[in-house]
């Protein structure tokens, strides 16, 4: 068997107990009877693509949906069939984490758990349609610790309709009190046209100005607590960056399995279409599932390298992105104190990181349309 080059594997488990209003991932509510068939299909896809994987896989990430909502027997079957890796992460919702589940994960070779806490304020959890209560988050965290997990991430969301600065301060304090190794803090995105935006859009617009400082508050609080702000929205104890996500940000190849999952391998990107029945039936018949293909031109890859690389706190080697850079914009942004050069590398300053989106747009030279499209 000829070993491939891909060292990062993503697996999508779409099932959830209920849908949260703000979520825009590919998710399916309930469908308990279908978990087994879906896992069959994912494993069939793995077999189909196995040739692309390197002998030594570095990271596996099982995301969702709510992976831990999957029926335990099916989840165990899946995890045991996946290739071993140095970092194996599973996403979990607090209310699903029992001592049994924690043990299941541990026994199946999982090394890292990402817990979707989002907030510790019941009122705000309701706004987000989250089922877990603050005590569920704490309980889940302790169960994981009891099962000897020493690498736990907490997801927090800020900018929730009705969230006061004091609410955010309390959320950060509560999260820090648990002492996670890693924190992901995202600003709530209200996508136009969604039910959530319809319900809360006005409130969000009204709050927009007062919420402007939330990002700064998050960064200040967490860095003061000794975390490394190593990516725009991610913080870790030294040495404990999320290696799987880091692979995306560094532009490495990755393979994605399951509905909606994206793979990028050697200049070709594809995305499995989100429809469950077609995915399952194709793989049951030994066929690849329906996919959207996107060949990536070299220029596009360089742009992505720039766009993702600037999110990190490590300097981005200039030679890797020079072709995509607008040099006059670079000079202007250096003048504004938003970008700096460090040796042969490019780095956003602290203020530059807060304005990272706009700065990146400026830095990108005129974007040619992806030539293949």
């Amino acid at each position: 068997m000829s070993a491939g080059r891909v060292r990062h594997l993503y697996v999508h488990l779409p099932f959830c107990a209920s849908r949260c209003g703000y979520c825009d991932f590919v998710t399916l509510v309930g469908r308990e009877g279908e978990h087994g068939r879906y896992v069959d299909a994912v494993l069939a896809e793995l077999e189909l693509e196995r040739g692309r994987l390197a002998d030594e896989v570095e990271t596996v990430f099982v995301g969702g949906g709510t992976p831990t909502f999957t029926e335990p027997a099916e989840l165990r079957r899946l995890l045991e069939a996946l290739p071993a890796a140095e970092e194996v992460t599973v996403e979990a919702n607090p209310e699903t984490v029992t001592p049994e589940l924690a043990a299941l994960l541990r026994d199946a070779g999982v090394t890292r758990v990402s817990l979707g806490a989002q907030s510790f304020e019941p009122r705000l959890l309701d706004v987000l349609d989250r089922r877990a209560r603050p005590e569920d988050v704490r309980r889940a965290f302790y169960h994981l610790r009891d099962a000897k997990f020493d690498n736990i991430n907490l997801d927090l969301i800020y900018g929730i309709p009705g969230q006061e600065p004091s609410d955010l301060e309390r959320d950060l304090d509560e999260a820090l009190a648990l002492g996670p190794e890693h924190l992901s803090c995202y600003e709530l995105e209200a996508k136009p046209g969604t039910r959530f935006t319809h319900a809360h859009g006005e409130e969000l617009a009204r709050q927009a100005e007062s919420m402007e400082g939330y990002f700064e508050l998050v960064v200040d609080t967490l860095t003061e607590a000794g975390y490394r702000w190593y990516e725009t929205a991610n913080f870790c104890r030294e040495g404990l960056r999320a290696r799987h996500n880091l692979a995306y940000w560094l532009g490495r190849d990755y393979l994605g399995l399951g509905i909606g999952a994206v793979s990028t391998v050697g200049g070709l990107r594809w995305r499995n279409l989100p429809a469950l029945p077609r995915y399952v039936s194709a793989l049951a018949g030994g066929e690849a599932p329906p996919r959207e293909l996107e060949p990536l031109a070299a220029a596009t890859q360089t742009q992505e390298r720039l766009m993702l690389g600037l999110r990190l706190d490590d300097p981005l080697p200039l030679e890797q992105v020079e072709a995509a850079l607008d040099l006059s914009a670079l000079a202007r942004l250096e003048g504004l104190g938003l970008v700096e050069r460090q040796g042969d590398g490019l780095l956003l300053t602290r203020r530059g990181r807060f304005l990272g989106g706009g700065v990146t747009v400026e830095l990108l030279a005129e974007i040619p349309a992806n030539n293949y499209n």
Binding site: Y10, F25, G63, Y186, E187, E189, E212, G213, F215, E216, T232, A233, N245, Y248, W249, Y254, G256, A261, V262, S263, T264, R269, R271, E294, T300, Q303, E304, M307, L308, R311, L336, L338, R353, F354, L355, G356, G357, G358, V359, T360, V361, E362, L364, E366, I367
Partner: protein
Amino acid sequence: MKLDRIRNFSIVAHIDHGKSTLADRILEVTETLTEREMREQVLDSMELERERGITIKAQAVRVAWKGHQLNLIDTPGHVDFTYEVSRALQACEGALLLVDAAQGIQAQTLANAYLALENDLEIVPIVNKIDLPQADPDAVAAELADLIAEDASRVLRISAKTGDGVADILDAVVERISPPEGDPDGPARALVFDSSYDQYRGVVAFVRVVDGRFHTRENLRAMAAGTRFEAEELGFFSPVRSPTDTLEAGEVGYVVTGLKDVSRLRVGDTLTSARQGAAKPLPGYKDVKPTVFAGLYPTDSDDYPELRDALEKLKLNDASLFYEPETSQALGFGFRCGFLGLLHMEIVRERLEREFDLDLLVTAPNVAYRVYTQSEEEIEVHSPADMPREFERVEEPYIRATTIVPKEYVGSVMELNNDRRGRFDHMEYLSEERVMLSYDLPLAEIVYDYYDQLKSRTKGYASFDYDVVGFEEGKLVRVDILLAGDPVDALSLIVHRDGAYARGRALVDRLREEIPRQMFDVPVQAAIGSRVIARETIKARRKDVLAKCYGGDVTRKRKLLERQKKGKKRMKQVGSVEVPQEAFLAVLNLEGDKR
């Protein structure tokens, strides 16, 4: 044709009062075309137009009625072309004054009726659309009779739609309107009352021969412009083009000139024979000057060549359109264009957008100013950006504005006009219900949000018309808008001193709302010279990140950035500040008339 067998007339009417329906009916009643021919022939000629791209329009139609030759001369239908209308009227001896039986006299009717009276035309008053259920022919007939001091019994009552009464009109044309006067044997003279451009045959002039006789292939001279050319073809419309060998005194027709530039043969000029021509031109030639100016810029700067070509083409048919290249640091390359009035501007803009598929940014319209420097030198200023910051005095154009409203709105109109620096001239009851108000106003005041105000204050019942009457000194100042210290040339204004603060404040507020926050603080200021009269600050952004950027779906993030980048491309750079097109549009809309 003997002079006493000829009648030349036009139809004066407000828009939608039935002018073209009546013209069609006249062609039928005079059997110039049978109904069937009308369809076929008009169609044929349209096909020909399509094939050859001929754009000759029938500006004058010749019909026969009871042994007479009647020439129906079309007039441009709107206020900005007063001069053109006056030339068309000068080519006639009479005019049909057509008024809708349901709507009565409108300001435009009035203006054109006065023009006709000034030109000593015999007016045949007609009430149209008497078949309408809401028609009030008696009241409208009384208004009309009053207006032209005729007996109400002389007012014809017709329905152009049904044809009822149309024959009576033609009889009245023969009986009431005098035959043309002129010297059939004198040196040839003809009045150019309109022209159009044909891409194969050049300028086609529409003429009324006053004296003598013109021959095909004869060499002719335009007396005011000095232009010489050969009459490649003479003829008249019936309503299709009918070439003839000669056009004689009293007759109306067209001359194909072969000239490639309409500006070499302007409306109002006199044609004569190149050899042994007339010594004196016909009276009344005027070089019409644009009164309203605006900058026209392509929304997408790549479209500049298209805009230039489009203006060139429009200019071929519209000698009164003026344009010259203009560069704005905010808007890029464009043109400063001059128009006969707001309506003319609106028409040109619409044609550019519709016929040439251009997306335009139009700056706030302004009028032409006469600026006198300290050394008493006179400069004509067409753009606020060209206004010197120091000067002795400024004069601005004034108009005589006529407004007709139901009497309950008189107060509102007066209030509006007073707000706009208007001077009351007089007021007249046209009927028990309707009042005509006459005011002198600075033209600049109606260029800015006047029509909208008039419309809303009179619930749409006002009809309005104006005529430029001269220049007067005004206490005017130039207001500049500055972004982060850099003036935005496209937003400079010339305003009356008393209104400067309010306008500056409105602009600054609007810009602060419309310009997205940048990566640094941006002060927005309005200033007269170095004196800041309004100031706001657009605070720097504190965050701008794509929050979620994990999972393998990098494409979606990249597309978000690409979209943002595209958005930036549509921004205009003013100094260090990026201003979205929409901000300019919003501000220019605020400034422009919101009709």
